[in-house]
């Protein structure tokens, strides 16, 4: 089983790279040679990756959320999976390379550093923790997707305003579509983060004797959640459009990253497992 896992661990970044190159080729060449088949390549990659994650769960008897590098491979999967769902729903196929690149990056780091022999604290084997972490990761994947679409929006916005009609103009979908993709990603991310927070709020106090509501990670995540709530609320109530929505999404994402870095690196938290 370990040898199969090691083989898959080597294969997965390679196939992510292949899928990334296929999406890039279609984007830059304008030939649409892989217009339909690239989706199949992505599906196969996700299938292999899902198989690897299940195999790892069975082998080590816990979900792959107990080390940083297990989290990274899960993050790689969830980013591409979210994109795949979005591509199926919207049939917008030209933006995959910007998303799959992040999956490739996270998977490479995971594949290099992931371990096979380590001691797992009993608390990390809990199923509630699995649900809590997976929903949080999917939530953050939604925010990442939203930020990527936000950057693409700003690029096209700038190109259109300065009358540059090059590759960005030709290959990206319209500003309204990019705005919608960014907004829907944020909403999905927000819902999943809310689920993660609810599960955490119920389960964490009973699992950790030193639990505190003032824990830096809890406070940071709550602030991120509030920031997105304000943004989504403003979009719905005040009818925000275009650039304003995108700027909100990017500020939210920057806030998320800063919050994660500060609370994970500098905060003294019970919430740090790795």
């Amino acid at each position: 089983m370990i040898s199969t896992l090691k083989g898959l661990n080597f294969i997965i970044p390679v196939i992510y790279l292949i899928v990334f190159l296929i999406y890039s080729y279609d984007f830059f060449s304008n030939k649409n040679a892989f217009k339909n088949s690239k989706r199949i390549f992505l599906f196969v990659t996700l299938f292999v990756h899902a198989f690897y994650l299940i195999l790892r769960t069975l082998e080590f008897d816990h979900p792959p959320i107990t080390t940083k590098f297990e989290i990274f491979t899960l993050l790689a999967f969830s980013i591409s999976f979210s994109y795949f769902i979005l591509e199926l729903l919207t049939d917008i196929r030209g933006t995959g390379l910007f998303i799959i690149f992040f999956s490739f990056l996270f998977q490479v780091i995971s594949s290099i550093f992931i371990e096979y022999n380590y001691v797992v604290p009993e608390v990390l084997r809990n199923r509630m923790l699995g649900l809590h972490v997976i929903s949080a990761i999917l939530g953050y994947s939604g925010f990442t997707l939203s930020a990527v679409y936000g950057i693409l929006f700003l690029l096209l916005y700038k190109n259109l305003r300065s009358s540059k009609f090059g590759l960005i103009f030709n290959r990206l979908p319209s500003l309204e579509v990019l705005e919608k993709l960014s907004y829907y990603s944020v909403v999905i991310g927000f819902v999943l983060l809310t689920i993660a927070i609810i599960i955490g709020a119920i389960w964490l106090p009973s699992a950790f004797p030193n639990f505190s509501y003032l824990d830096p990670k809890l406070v940071g995540t709550s602030l991120v959640w509030i920031a997105y709530l304000i943004g989504i609320g403003s979009k719905i109530l005040s009818k925000w459009y275009g650039k304003k929505v995108i700027i909100f999404s990017l500020i939210g994402f920057a806030f998320t990253i800063i919050s994660l870095i500060i609370t994970s690196t500098f905060g003294n938290t019970f919430h740090s497992f790795y």
Binding site: L156, L160, R161, S163, F165, F169, L172, P173, S174, L175, E176, V177, K180, K239, Y241, G242, K243, K244
Partner: protein
């Protein structure tokens, strides 16, 4: 092949000459009977950018000047010169017809209208009984070339007019034009073109504003739109997502302040301003207002120029299609050369068979006669199968015409075939095949 043709087009003659020589449908109907006196088949293509006449001579005369002479007799034009006409013959004529149908010979490269015009011209010729076997084959192949060029290359892709480029930019800003509204300022030719493009793209609501109200109303009716009085133009800007301005006003119609006011009332929702007027109608300073997308002739021309370059780069691909179809056409055409020979050969064998059968008719029983007749028929069929197939193959390969001529000559000499019947150059005999 006795196909000859003449062309006067945007490359060879100025627009006023082209206009003078343009033939309407009625004129073509009147002119074709005059051509029929000299030619057995033909087609006349006449558009605003070209007049082209292709005919097949009844005899061996290969002189395109006859067509020019007849055309000028029918429609005298004083300021025309001999060099305004290009003359074509046989293979060159076919290549030119295919180039015209594919749009690579058009003023706007890849123009999709020309294929429809070629089809219309061919259909008219058919209706007037002026399209025979060869013309039918040529023009059916030309239409195939045109369709293949559109399907297999990017010769017709991208906006190549400023008004269409403006619509292309809109599609990069808005996801669904059906939910958007547009105001076209100016009901002149450019404004009209822009309004029609917007309507074709399915814009939700369209309004026209023009100094002369009557002209605005005419255009509004044409595009199922409404009219905004020119005097209340500025107060209405905020109601539209797209404003296209194409007036001949020497001064700005819309200032930065006007647009700032409109944006306040739109609560920041994006506004697209397309200034396709020369001189400009909208103060270019508006481009600095947030969520305003302003484009003028210069910026839109960038798109047009890029698309024209892209289309030009597709020409070799179209030429390859033309070459493929020419090879196929001449393969078919060359088979026409051997058909009379094959026919004469079969007739020669049939004659011998009949002679011999006649000789034994009274010497055998009726039952045996039927058997012998059947046997001789099969015998001739088997004997002639290989020579017939070989001759057809040689003709269809179309590679070595001389080799094919040598083979048909040997066959004719070996069997002393009737030379009148087997004259491969007789166009009328070729038609008998079909």
């Amino acid at each position: 092949m006795n196909l000859i043709g003449i062309s006067i087009n945007h490359r060879t003659a100025p627009i006023n000459v082209l206009e003078s020589l343009h033939l309407s449908r009625e004129e073509i109907i009147e002119f074709i009977p005059k051509l029929k006196k000299e030619f057995s088949e033909g087609v006349i293509i006449s558009t605003c950018n070209r007049t082209e006449i292709f005919c097949i001579s009844k005899n061996q005369t290969i002189d395109a000047n006859i067509i020019i002479q007849k055309l000028l007799e029918f429609k005298p034009v004083s300021n025309i010169r001999d060099e305004n006409f290009t003359r074509y013959f046989s293979c060159g004529a076919i290549k030119h017809i295919f180039s015209v149908a594919s749009g690579i010979d058009s003023l706007v490269i890849g123009d999709s209208q020309i294929l429809g015009q070629v089809k219309e011209a061919f259909e008219l010729s058919e209706d007037l009984d002026f399209a025979g076997t060869i013309i039918k084959r040529i023009f059916n192949t030309a239409l195939k070339v045109g369709k293949r060029a559109i399907k297999e290359t990017a010769i017709g892709e991208g906006a190549v007019t400023v008004s269409y480029a403006a619509v292309q930019v809109l599609e990069k800003i808005f996801a669904n034009l059906e939910k958007k509204s547009a105001l076209v300022i100016g009901a002149g030719e450019t404004g009209e073109l822009a309004a029609i493009h917007l309507k074709d793209k399915g814009i939700g609501k369209i309004s026209i504003s023009n100094r002369t109200l009557q002209r605005a109303e005419i255009l509004a009716n044409k595009v199922n739109g409404s009219v905004v009085p020119f005097e209340s133009l500025k107060e209405n800007i905020h109601n539209y997502d797209v404003v296209i301005s194409a007036t001949s006003s020497p001064d700005y119609i819309l200032s930065k302040l006007d647009i700032q006011e409109a944006m306040k009332r739109r609560k920041g929702t994006p506004l697209v301003l397309m200034d396709i007027a020369v001189p400009r109608d909208i103060d270019p300073e508006v481009k600095n207002i947030e969520n305003v997308f302003y484009h003028d002739m210069d910026s839109l021309k960038v798109i047009v120029d890029k698309n024209i370059s892209k289309r030009k780069a597709e020409i070799p691909k179209v030429e390859k299609i033309i070459m493929e179809e020419m090879i196929e056409f001449f393969s078919w055409y060359n088979t026409l050369e051997v058909v009379p020979v094959i026919k004469s050969l079969r007739e020669f064998f049939e004659e011998i068979k009949n002679d011999e059968l006649e000789k034994i008719k009274n010497k055998v029983t009726a039952e045996d006669y039927v058997k012998i007749e059947d046997m001789t028929r099969r015998l001739i069929g088997r004997l002639l199968h290989n020579p017939t197939v070989k001759l057809r193959q040689l003709a269809e390969s179309g590679i070595n015409i001389e080799e094919m001529a040598a083979h048909t000559f040997i066959v004719k000499e070996l069997f002393s075939l009737n030379k009148d019947k087997s004259n491969g150059n007789d166009i009328n005999q070729k038609k008998e095949k079909n």
